[in-house]
């Protein structure tokens, strides 16, 4: 049983100075959380949960996120729930192909590659998530609507993938999980009711 007090405990949202932080903060509030923006890695030491948002290019995201690597590693070793959103998910992986090959934070196995020219790129719009394995963020088989806006995808091993979408014939990992580390390729903060439900479940972790 999750009490209101626990749900409301501090959720740190990492400020990389990129993208749409206001929307993420407000969506977390609508979902019942009390998010706090942080640009200081030391503050993650007391975080109950951590959200890593971001909309930009992989290289720029990594440039800004590198100084959080150690604090994130420590948080994960304490089993603190961490959620990467869109670029924030992509930089959790080992490396990315945007603007040449660049190393990522390396918390998840796999690499980030540009969607093939055989499909429309960018991949923009709404799709229903296809759940491939149960996750606390997707307890029901019918996983709901998700809004995507991405030109790259995470090529992740099946054991960490919890939901996918298919863009034409190309599978895109939509939700990945390893321990308390979660990543979503779509934007739950822009995915109306179903996005809010996913954030609420993350806040219950």
């Amino acid at each position: 049983m999750i009490t209101a007090g626990l749900t409301a405990a501090r959720t740190s949202v990492i400020d990389l100075g990129l993208g749409n932080l206001g929307s993420v903060l407000q969506a977390l509030r609508r979902a019942g959380g009390e998010p706090e923006l942080t640009s200081d890695p030391a503050e993650l030491a007391t975080a109950r949960r951590i959200v890593l948002p971001g909309v930009a290019a992989f290289g720029l995201g990594m440039e800004r996120a590198a100084r959080f690597r150690e604090a994130l590693a420590q948080a994960l070793s304490r089993s603190v729930p961490v959620l990467g959103i869109c670029l924030g998910m992509q930089i959790l992986f080992e490396e990315g192909d945007e603007d040449g090959t660049r190393p990522g934070l390396g918390f998840l196995p796999g690499r980030v590659t540009r969607l093939p020219a055989s499909v429309q790129v960018p991949h923009i719009g709404w799709q229903k998530l296809e759940r491939t394995a149960p996750s606390p963020l997707l307890p029901e088989p019918l996983a709901g609507w998700a809004y995507f806006a991405n030109s790259y995808r995470c090529e992740a091993p099946a054991e960490i993938v919890r939901a996918v979408v298919h863009h034409g014939s190309v599978p895109i990992a939509a939700l990945v999980q390893r321990g308390t580390l979660f990543g979503v390729q779509h934007h739950p903060e822009k995915s109306a009711r179903d996005g809010e439900a996913l954030l609420r479940r993350f806040l219950a972790q």
Binding site: G19, N20, G22, S23, Q26, A27, R30, V55, A56, A57, L87, A117, Q120, V121, P122, H123, I124, G125, W126, Q127, W145, Y147, F148, A149, N150, S151, H166, H167, G168, H187, E189, K190, S191, A192, R193, G195, E196
Partner: protein, 253 residues
């Protein structure tokens, strides 16, 4: 499979919605936040705020509007009108816009498209193209359609995408406001020429017109007046398109 999107466009001036529909529940029909929430609840997949004044004074209030809307709206939205520099685009994106739309400024300085795409990613860069039929093809117009540019619409769409545009918002001025359907021949030509999503705009009058646009290859279709004036509901449009076989986001409840 991606669903086809229905985008509702709201004209704003001095941070107020002009031509806002009279939703019964709204306290203030000109309030962009109230309007945005109502259209979100009505099933719009995305919103587009177009600053029709696009003046220097207006740009300051536009950023405030974007900030307010971003705090309340749980679907994506684009903002356009008067985006003339990377700094303008960056400000709107930082205030919470998901996409910025550029038109005349991109024609004057195509490098602007690349600069904004580098900053925010192509998925946040929408290039709006207003065209009129000319001889066998179509000519791009700028400055709200008032100036001829001499540019061929297909060539310009290709160039905009090569420079980093993630979507093309294509408005046929010949069809806009007439309500007899989108410019299907133009849509087919542009969709065949560029690999990115194309948003059809100008001419919606019936639910079937939206399905026609999707048949011509559009990833999304945008309308203003038919929704403003309550001629059509988003639900009816989506229902019709689904019956014509297009995947739509319908069970939003």
């Amino acid at each position: 499979m991606l669903t086809r999107r229905i985008i509702h466009c709201l004209d704003v001036k001095d941070a107020r919605v002009v031509k806002g529909v009279q939703f019964a529940a709204l306290r203030d029909a000109g309030d962009p936040v109230e309007q945005a929430k109502a259209y979100g609840a009505a099933g719009a997949d995305e919103l587009c705020f177009l600053d029709i004044a696009a003046s220097l004074e207006s740009r300051g209030t536009l950023a405030q509007l974007v900030e307010q809307v971003a705090l309340e709206l749980s679907i994506p939205f684009a903002v356009g009108g008067g985006v003339r520099s990377v700094a303008d685009a960056e400000k709107l994106l930082r205030c919470g816009a998901d996409k910025v739309s550029m038109n005349s400024a991109a024609i004057n300085d195509p490098a602007l498209i690349t600069a904004v795409a580098r900053l925010a990613g192509s998925q946040s860069v929408l290039v709006a193209i207003d065209v009129r039929a000319r001889g066998p093809g179509w000519e791009v117009r700028s400055h709200g359609g008032t100036r001829k540019t001499g540019l061929d619409a297909i060539d310009w769409a290709r160039e905009a995408v090569d420079r980093g545009a993630g979507e093309i918002l294509l408005t046929s001025m010949d069809h806009d406001g007439v309500g007899r359907g989108f410019a299907l021949e133009l849509l087919r030509a542009v969709c065949a020429a560029v690999p990115v999503p194309v948003i059809a705009s100008g001419g919606a009058g019936t639910p079937g017109h939206f399905a026609d646009a999707f048949e011509a290859g559009a990833a999304a279709a945008l309308a203003a007046s038919v929704f403003h004036f309550g001629t059509l509901t988003i639900a009816a449009v989506k229902q019709c398109c689904a019956e014509r076989g297009f995947p739509m986001r319908i069970d939003t409840l």
